[in-house]
């Protein structure tokens, strides 16, 4: 008897990459391992798109694992936002696998490449698992799958600094995860359930309780650490700078986004309608941190000589924008945050991919290849790569006709709607800082002479890397001009999140 697969898609989003990883032990040859990862990513992307279509057509999906109804069993819950996240994660995943073959070949020793792909599949499984689950503790388990595999992926970077970066990420990430389970434990203590919607129902009914307040604070700090929200971002720049470029691309465009997704879940599903949220204090508390992050991280980025590190600091700043969207605490603000989350995944994905192309061809030491000086004269040597970098950079700055402009536009609209004029001005000002640091790279590549002794012959990255790169750049332009898809979806997702939670088992909307 064949199962009705579309009906059972929710658990398969986790189970398929999770089972593909151990099977991957069999394919030791790098080509086979790569092919396997690519096939699995394509399948999961297909599943994710199917789920998104289903959710858009028929409303949120709820799935009782093991036939145990929530709150006794674990419930998987897919609404528009989680389906959107699934498409984002798996889409970026497929692109980085396709892109990563040449990059991984040059940066990771051949005997370890199959382990790299296994770890990638595990990270994919963990991230998908976090997005689909409706259970607060199950989220922690999936978080650990993705975290452990990310630590290993980062440690695979060339050079010893990758090891210390992975170690620091491990320590801070574990503290974050532990804070998260302390928070979940306290919520469980006062509500007696682990199902997010069920927790929300209990909290709606009960008066404000000091244990709940502390629990939410711990959840915030724990997720903030994983999200690298300023000032909890200390692990991120080094981790991104020293990881293999394919890993940086994947993590920068998915891992922090999923952390933001958890934050949204806590604010809008767990705290849904609870007396705690009445003052919107929690969301607004994010605003000062978000703005401080936007400025301080951008300023630090300006003074970086390591391009990967510069982009990593820029990520911290961009996380500030997303958190700011959440901090408005309005439907439009949340929508703006979600829009920027999607757009930033595309922007940073493209930028890091371009960096990877350059690293492949410059080919000095791990840290040498990403120094601004090494990039001098690169405009003539790798015109296509640099052109992509410039386009993605423009999108990061927020020039009209790019996705970056769209997200900043909606953020400013949300600020105006709230009457926060100063915040709107600050958004523009901090975007100017991005001009400075992107310009430094562009200047080096196009206007400065190449370093003595370096190869100046024209040498473009292989097509297998350029194609995914240009696909993302094209997406940046496409969604910058035709904003319907992202904006409509984000607004639908945001307004769905503002619906009160009224019951379990799919009755959330």
């Amino acid at each position: 008897m064949l199962p009705d697969l579309p009906l059972h898609l929710p658990p398969l989003h986790l189970a398929v990459p999770l089972m593909a990883a151990p099977v991957g032990v069999l394919w030791r040859r790098p080509v086979l391992a790569w092919g396997w990862a690519a096939v699995v990513s394509a399948v999961t992307l297909l599943m994710a798109v199917t789920t998104l279509v289903t959710v858009l057509g028929h409303g949120p999906v709820s799935y009782a694992v093991g036939n145990w109804p929530a709150p006794w069993g674990i419930e998987l819950k897919l609404d528009i936002l989680s389906a959107l996240m699934l498409v984002l994660i798996n889409g970026i995943g497929l692109l980085t696998v396709l892109y990563g073959r040449a990059s991984v070949q040059s940066e990771i020793q051949a005997s370890h490449q199959y382990l790299y792909y296994i770890c990638y599949l595990l990270a994919l499984a963990g991230l998908s698992g976090m997005v689909i689950t409706g259970d607060a503790f199950n989220l922690f388990v999936c978080l650990e799958i993705s975290s452990l595999s990310s630590y290993a992926l980062i440690a695979m970077g060339k050079g010893r600094k990758a090891l210390t970066a992975a170690y620091n990420y491990l320590v801070l990430g574990t503290i974050g995860a532990t804070f998260y389970i302390i928070g979940v434990g306290m919520l469980y203590m006062v509500t007696g359930t682990l199902n997010m919607a069920d927790i929300a129902l209990h909290m709606q009914a009960a008066p404000v309780n000091r244990t709940e307040v502390v629990a939410i604070a711990f959840l915030l700090v724990g997720i903030g650490l994983k999200l690298a929200l300023f000032p909890l971002h200390k692990w991120l720049p080094n981790a991104y700078a020293h990881a293999p470029t394919a890993v940086t691309t994947f993590l920068a465009s998915t891992a922090t986004k999923v952390s933001l997704y958890i934050l949204i879940r806590v604010f809008f599903t767990v705290l849904n309608g609870a007396p705690l949220l009445a003052s919107h204090l929690w969301a607004e508390m994010l605003v000062p941190f978000a703005i401080a992050g936007m400025f301080s991280a951008s300023l630090v980025a300006i003074f970086q000589t390591n391009i990967k590190k510069m982009l990593a600091y820029s990520s911290v700043a961009q996380i500030g924008y997303m958190a700011l969207g959440l901090g408005f605490g309005t439907v439009n603000g949340l929508a703006a945050g979600i829009i920027h989350m999607i757009n930033h995944a595309m922007i940073k994905g493209a930028l890091f991919m371009a960096v990877g192309c350059a690293v492949l061809r410059i080919g000095t030491s791990a840290s040498g290849a990403v120094r601004v000086e090494s990039w001098q004269g690169l405009g003539r040597r790798m015109p296509l790569t640099m052109f992509a970098f410039v386009l993605a950079g423009l999108s990061l700055i927020g020039v009209p006709l790019t996705t970056g402009f769209v997200s900043k536009w909606y953020l400013m609209m949300a600020a105006f709607e709230k009457g926060w004029w100063l915040v709107a001005v600050l958004i523009v000002l901090s975007s100017l800082l991005a001009v400075v640091y992107i310009w430094r790279v562009v200047e080096a590549a196009y206007l400065r002479p190449a370093l003595p002794g370096s190869d100046t012959s024209r040498c473009e990255a292989p097509l297998s890397m350029l194609l995914p790169l240009y696909l993302l750049v094209a997406a940046n332009i496409w969604f910058g001009i035709d904003t319907r898809f992202t904006v409509d979806l984000a607004q639908a997702a945001a307004s769905a999140l503002f619906q009160p939670v009224t019951g379990l088992n799919g009755g959330a909307q």
Binding site: M19, V25, V65, N67, G129, I145, A152
Partner: protein, 331 residues
């Protein structure tokens, strides 16, 4: 209300606090590792006292056993002294004090310890206690919740262990490992071989340890235990053999070529059981579908299978971890 349990609890908790403070102050890492083993053991006693026998079992075998061995292996490869004097880090102290104060503030509204009326003893728990016996046919509620009601979590847990093994193989699995027999072997190992009493004692113990592992694996439905504890105990038996007799001989018995595929196999058994239920018409991991006429029998079969998967993965991961850490040559 002061009961005997509360009293024992108070004493043990105080002991735990003292151990933790000693761990903070001592700079000899060897002593700190030993203290952390003691800390785990005392925690295990407290867990038993608090009726969490499965957790106690796991903490004793993992915290006091495997963790300590891994740490000792690391010490052997690095150094046993903490060089930098403990910095008087006021920033760290401030962070910790603020966090601690927040937690203390949070305890104010917590239900009292041992209170049967506290919210966590809610309908969710009620069903586990009253209905799990009939629904799953497994008397140990922890096992039935772990493997069935929240089996999806446990699948994730098995994957976490698998991930750790892959990660450790990435980091330590090549270059410096001693695949060929090391010559000459360090003096301590050789002197160990000359110890008839130790060897005789170990010979007598290893058999029962391995047997006990199987007992724990298959008796986990009825008493404390299950795949995870069984896996750790089995690995502990092998580790004992490797420590006292010979690393190379142990590795020849449990070759990486065998253990590594088995790690993957365990995860596949678990997730495969989930997929199999789909073919029987149930939801993912809905074991009842295995036997539509007697759902409880289906549950028993499913729980047996996934526990087997957990046991296979965990035992092989633990052995792999041990061999990778302790097989690495000192730099």
């Amino acid at each position: 209300m002061i009961t005997m349990v509360t009293l024992i609890d108070l004493v043990l908790f105080t002991l735990l606090g003292i151990t933790a403070i000693a761990m903070l102050r001592i700079r000899d890492l060897f002593a700190v590792v030993m203290l952390s083993g003691i800390y785990s053991l005392v925690s295990a006693v407290i867990f038993t006292d608090l009726d969490a026998v499965d957790v106690a079992f796991t903490e004793a075998s993992v915290g006091a056993g495997i963790s300590t061995i891994l740490m000792l292996g690391t010490l052997a490869l690095t150094s046993t002294k903490e060089k930098t004097p403990r910095r008087q880090s006021w920033g760290a102290l401030l962070i910790v004090l603020v966090t601690g104060a927040a937690l203390m503030y949070g305890t104010v509204d917590m239900p009292a310890f041992g209170d049967a009326a506290s919210p966590i003893n809610s309908p969710v728990t009620d069903r586990y206690i009253t209905a799990s016996g009939e629904e799953t046919g497994v008397p140990n509620i922890v096992t039935s919740v772990l493997a069935s009601y929240r089996g999806y979590d446990t699948m994730g847990e098995t994957t976490v262990i698998f991930t750790a093994a892959i990660a450790v193989l990435i980091l330590l699995g090549s270059a410096r490992t001693t695949d060929a027999p090391v010559t000459p072997r360090p003096a301590t190992t050789r002197s160990l071989e000359l110890r008839p009493i130790l060897r005789a004692g170990a010979k007598l113990l290893i058999g029962p340890i391995l047997l006990f592992a199987f007992y724990v694996q298959f008796h986990g439905d009825f008493g404390p235990g299950g795949g995870f504890q069984a896996g750790v105990i089995f690995a502990a038996g092998v580790i004992l053999y490797a420590l006292i007799f010979d690393m190379d001989r142990a590795r020849a018995l449990f070759r990486p070529a065998v253990t590594r595929p088995l790690i993957a196999l365990g995860v596949l058994i678990y997730a495969g059981t989930g997929i199999a239920t789909l073919f029987f018409g149930g939801n993912f991991l809905g074991y009842s579908a295995f036997n539509p006429h007697h759902p409880a029998h289906g549950q028993e079969l499913g729980i047996f299978l996934v526990e087997l998967g957990v046991g296979i993965t965990v035992s092989n991961v633990m052995m792999t971890l041990f061999f990778t850490f302790c097989g690495r040559r000192r730099p």
